[in-house]
């Protein structure tokens, strides 16, 4: 009896210790990634990286100025297209739709969210590249916006629903119509949360590579306007990492560090915005 009890205690301690170990390993992966990028990318990062165009294959030097600008343009397009669509759809689901439609839109949004990004790439290739017969930064931005939309819909809905009931009732009691209450009271009350959703979505699409491979493609030079193919940071990382040149590997690390820095900073910033919002409400 006694030994059985000791055995059970031992198993208890062992298994609980193992779960702690699992958590430790999982969490430490992020720090491994950060460490490697800081070490390899930090050494490779210089001023040229931000100001120069890529050098021809095999030559050293050069930078990724056009890819940085390209990524900025792609993210801007995706937000300009995806944010209004996602926001309005989120308002619809949270405020105006019946139960059945809400379920359908929500379920479809989740499905769209689960579509592999490479398939999104094929889709946009079929509707925005094939008809005009050339790659363009606009097509890339569209592909990214399709990835952004589900994120924005879900966060908009979630934060609209979390607006306190009395606030809504107060607006209605003052004689506001439903749409007036939504536009002037409910949406402003949830604005902070919706903003974080947009930032998180932008951070997610900033790192997407697969949907850009055959929409915005790549470009060794600047890409003026919307109709030209364009370089972007994620595609450059991919191209440079699998190329056989050491100097390109160096630059891939630098680009990786810049990209990861942006993505993590956006994520941490949203966390900060949200926690400030909570303490302000209290």
């Amino acid at each position: 009896m006694k030994t059985r009890f000791i055995l059970r205690k031992a198993i208890n301690a062992l298994m609980l210790g193992l779960t702690g170990l699992c958590a430790l390993v999982t969490v430490s992966v992020l720090f491994f990634i950060l460490g490697y990028l800081l070490w390899n990318g930090g050494r490779a990062l210089d001023w040229n990286f931000f100001t120069k165009l890529p050098s021809p294959p095999g030559e050293t030097g050069g930078g990724m100025a056009n890819a940085i600008a390209g990524s900025a343009k792609l993210i801007l397009i995706s937000v300009l297209v995806g944010l209004p669509v996602g926001f309005m759809a989120g308002v619809y689901v949270a405020e105006f739709s019946g139960k059945t439609m809400a379920f359908f839109v929500r379920y479809t949004t989740d499905l769209l969210n689960g579509v592999p990004s490479i398939v999104i790439g094929i889709f946009v290739y079929a509707i925005a590249v094939l008809p005009v017969k050339h790659f363009s930064v606009l097509a890339g931005g569209l592909a990214l916006s399709l990835i952004l939309i589900p994120v924005v819909v879900r966060t908009t809905e979630e934060f609209l629903r979390s607006v306190p009931g009395p606030l809504r009732e107060g607006a209605l009691a003052l004689g506001a119509r439903h749409w007036q209450a939504v536009a002037t009271v409910i949406v402003p009350a949830a604005a902070r949360g919706i903003l974080t959703g947009a930032i998180l979505g932008a951070a997610r699409v900033a790192g997407e590579t697969a949907p850009l491979l055959f929409t915005s493609f790549n470009n060794r030079y600047w890409s003026p306007g919307l109709g030209e193919p364009s370089a972007s940071l994620p595609v450059m990382i991919f191209t440079y990492a699998i190329a056989p040149y050491d100097d390109w590997h160096r630059q891939a690390w630098a680009a990786g560090l810049v990209l990861l820095g942006l993505v993590l900073a956006a994520n941490i910033a949203t966390r900060w915005i949200l926690s400030k919002g909570l303490s302000a409400q209290r």
């Binding site: 702690g20 699992c22 999982t26 992020l30 309005m88 592999p116 119509r177 749409w179 536009a183």
Partner: protein, 318 residues
């Protein structure tokens, strides 16, 4: 009848003028646009893969030869690579993710748990091309010089560990995928475990169970729907993951039993060949691969979402 119809029209017009119906219709437009986009997506994939569907039929899924020059397209090597790498990823990620989730939900103090969960969420935000970068320059050399020779010297008699040691291959892709999907398993399983009512846990403890016994025999079974849902979601991610896999899988459309051998996945072949495909048939065969991938992930996602919804409704009685 007619009078009722007119009064309904009048009511509608009155509400339209007041703005509520206008706002409803305006937002409805955007809500419906999401449905339309999804339908259009399926339609485009279907229409643009007509050529290989007509030529190969279902045989497309079982063909073992992928030869763009001879216009012979069989998807089996890619399906095999996708399934095997995802299976390896699940084998590694499920125990780790579940263990970490149990620790975060059951053991860790609230502050530490929320801090660690945030780190796990950050891990989920790391772009896949970054995982690919680390895979190419850190993981693959490590596998080639350390792990794979060790595997061969200890378990080399198993067919899954035979063949030359290259670093790149199915094993490397599986490991990278495992790291990428662990955050999904951890964060969703943790929520499922936290949703288990405290009474369940306390009842088990009151009956004399140790902490681990209460977790294993009561809490985890109670949360099993949500945990299963998290695994399916992670699997759907793994199947569709492109960049990191493309960079480390070796890109060789052959079916080999060994995990050390290079392989190819559906997403990887699309990424590599799409812009270089010259014949219409080749492009459409790649689009059909995209269709296969889409249907697979949609199926998994749909089931997973229903399971997670079910978890929200009731804890899932054993």
């Amino acid at each position: 009848m007619a009078a009722a119809a007119t009064s309904r029209v009048q009511l509608f017009r009155r509400r339209l003028q007041a703005g509520d119906e206008a706002a409803h219709l305006l937002t409805l437009l955007f809500g419906v646009s999401i449905l339309l986009i999804t339908v259009l997506l399926v339609w485009e994939l279907w229409v643009n893969s007509a050529l290989p569907r007509q030529k190969f039929g279902l045989g497309f899924l079982f063909g073992r030869v992928w030869d763009p020059v001879a216009e012979q397209f069989g998807a089996l090597p890619f399906i095999y690579g996708t399934v095997v790498t995802s299976a390896v990823a699940l084998l590694i990620a499920v125990p780790f993710g579940l263990g970490a989730a149990i620790f975060l939900a059951e053991l860790a103090p609230a502050r530490i748990s929320s801090a660690l969960t945030f780190v796990v969420e950050l891990l989920a935000a790391v772009p896949s091309v970054i995982f690919g970068l680390l895979g190419v320059f850190i993981l693959v050399p490590f596998l080639r010089t350390t792990v794979q020779p060790a595997l061969q010297s200890t378990l080399g008699y198993l067919p899954i560990f035979r063949g030359p040691v290259l670093g790149v291959g199915l094993l490397a892709a599986g490991v990278v995928l495992a790291i990428m999907i662990v955050p999904f398993i951890v964060s969703i399983s943790r929520e499922a475990l936290l949703a288990v009512p405290a009474e369940q846990r306390e009842a088990a403890l009151a009956l004399g169970a140790t902490r681990w016994e209460a977790t294993r025999q009561v809490v985890v079974p109670y949360a099993r729907l949500g945990i299963f849902g998290s695994v399916l979601l992670a699997l759907a991610r793994a199947l569709g993951e492109t960049m990191a896999v493309t960079m480390v899988i070796g890109n060789d459309p052959r079916i080999s039993a060994s995990l050390l051998a290079p392989g190819y996945s559906i997403a990887a072949v699309i990424a590599n060949e799409f812009t270089e495909a010259s014949s219409e048939m080749h492009v459409q065969a790649l689009i059909e691969l995209g269709l296969v991938l889409f249907l697979l992930t949609i199926l998994l996602n749909g089931v997973a979402r229903l399971l997670i919804l079910g978890m929200g409704r009731q804890g899932g009685r054993p």
